[in-house]
Amino acid sequence: MSDNAIDEISRGPAANVPAEVTDAWEAETPASRGPGEVRAVLLMARVTFREAARRKILWIAAIAGFAFLALFWIALHAAIKSSVRVPVIALHEGMQMMTMMVLYAGSMLTSLMAALTSCDALAGEIASGSIHAIATKPVSRASIVLGKWAGFAGMITLYVLLVEGGSIAIAAIEGGLAAAHSGAVLGLIWLQAMVLLGVTLAASTRFSSLTSGAITLGLYGLAFVGGWIEEFGAVRHVPTCVNLGIVSSLIMPSDALWRRATYLLQPPLLGAAGASPFASSSIPSHAMAIYAVLYAACALILAQVLLASRDI
């Protein structure tokens, strides 16, 4: 076709909508206003739980958790059988020490799982565009985030109950260790994972999956080092170190929660032994646990606000 012919075409935008289009609308069913907030959260939680359950890291963590439990049970059984002439108090100290080691390993696995399974949840879907089909449905972005959080939280809760609860149960069944604070200990370890989950979700609204995971693990490492510095300061009476540790706990309270859990679990002699991951000399206060709850809640709210306010 010649350019001349095209040049003759009227170029003015036909802004008016053609009159012949129909005004009638016949939908098979009346338009819904959406599923409602609670239903939307449950729908997202369910699909997220199933998606998370397919992550290899979950199964690796689960296998590792079961291996710990099996190892722990066998070791505890063998230790008790071979300690007939050992004083009861010493035996209990040893068993508690072993229990705390297993709990510590489980806590680390839980934390890693919380960060690594969820770092792709929002960032990956934003990058791939798969969130577009969800975000254009009549559900709020806050519900999407809350649903994803609930899905991961459900998975982490099961893991904590299985591995950490299993460790405490084995210690009670095999070693007869009193589990006076077991609920609180499990709660603190769970809260530690929730803090990390909230931070990861918030980061993944704005950063890539890899960066989000790195941010969370970086903060986790900072808290870990800060916890050691605080322990050192408490043992050596160096207030600056104690204060640095507290500041790091305020930045990321994950280690403080673990140290409070160990305080609840630790035998008296272990506490006197000095700084170690299994014993606390500087005991985070009850207020720190409350702070961590608020921290986790704020991280979740931040994730909701960040996703709601960004272009996707």
């Binding site: 909508v17 289009v21 098979e28």
Partner: protein, 305 residues
């Protein structure tokens, strides 16, 4: 004036110093299939995302079904097929549609009826229980198309719906567009396949550098003048003289006679004249301005994006 389903006025989107969309002003009516065309980087995706509420405009205003952009009320009444539809690949096609239907707030009994029907409609009836991991790109587009229609949308946004589809799949998309339009839904189609748009849409808008630069009723650009190519032989000079009085720009290159007519209704007279003069006619081809011709002319030189 028909009921407007999309009414955008001066929508604008700026990312830092870069302006993605300068001025999106358009109105689309109910029951209309509207093509939205532009080269890469022209602002098509950003424009669609603004209308869908995925991207917040930095200027202008718009109503979707009478609602401000991004409201839950508006989103409940639209369907969207993203350019590269992806979703959790462990879901079966049925599970995927159930999930999206539930997100739309549809009741279970409605979904039980609608999901199998939609899967049949997009040609995936036999694959309903297969996980979408096993789906080809074309099958993913088909299931994506089905999820976009799960809530009987009043506006169906299709972003490159034929991407990855074979000819049968493209035919399916054309049929779906026609069906949706016939039932009164608005279809907003973004596609690089201009032939598809030409066959499916009632109107078309061109966007360039973030601005609407042309909007046409489909085919209205043809105008009165018709160029014709006639393959013929044994033309007498007297026949050419007679044709000169009926047509313009008359040229004979070997067996190919080219001429311009003031309207296609003059074409039979031209043919009759040739036949009566003893000429043999092998083909008569009116030259139409295709949408592609118009697009290329409107967009200017290829920027190589």
């Amino acid at each position: 004036m028909a009921t407007l389903t999309i009414d955008a006025c001066g929508l604008r989107k700026r990312y830092g110093s870069r302006i993605a969309v300068r001025d999106l002003t358009l109105q689309v009516g109910r029951g209309e299939a509207f093509g939205f065309l532009g080269p890469n980087g022209a602002g098509k995706s950003t424009s669609i995302k603004m209308l869908l509420g995925l991207v917040r405009p930095t200027g202008g205003s718009a109503l979707l079904l009478g609602q401000p952009l991004g409201t839950r009320e508006a989103r409940a009444r639209i369907g969207f097929l993203p350019e590269h539809f992806r979703f959790y690949d462990w879901l079966s096609a049925t599970e995927l549609l159930l999930f999206h239907g539930r997100l739309c707030g549809l009741k279970e009994d409605v979904l039980r009826r609608r999901v199998p029907r939609l899967l049949e409609r997009v040609g995936l009836g036999a694959q309903s229980s297969k996980t979408i991991r096993s789906f080809s790109k074309g099958m993913m587009q088909r299931v994506g198309l089905a999820q976009a229609m799960i809530n009987d949308p009043e506006i169906l946004f299709l972003d490159e719906p034929t991407s990855g589809l074979d000819p049968a799949g493209r035919k399916l998309v054309r049929e779906v567009i026609r069906e949706q339009r016939d039932r009164g839904a608005t279809v907003f189609l973004n596609s690089h396949l201009l032939g598809e748009v030409e066959q499916s849409c009632d109107r078309v808008a061109f966007i360039r550098e973030g601005r609407i630069v042309g909007m046409y009723q489909m085919g209205a650009w043809q105008g009165e003048r018709t160029d014709v190519e006639i393959k013929t032989s044994h033309i007498e000079p007297s026949a050419l003289e007679r044709l000169a009085g009926m047509a313009r720009d008359l040229r004979l290159d070997g067996q190919l006679l080219r001429l311009s007519l003031d309207g296609e209704d003059r074409l039979p007279g031209v043919v009759r004249c040739l036949v009566e003069s003893g000429a043999e006619i092998f083909s008569v081809i009116p030259q139409r301005v295709s949408l592609e011709d118009l697009f290329l002319k409107t967009m200017g030189p290829d920027p190589g994006l």
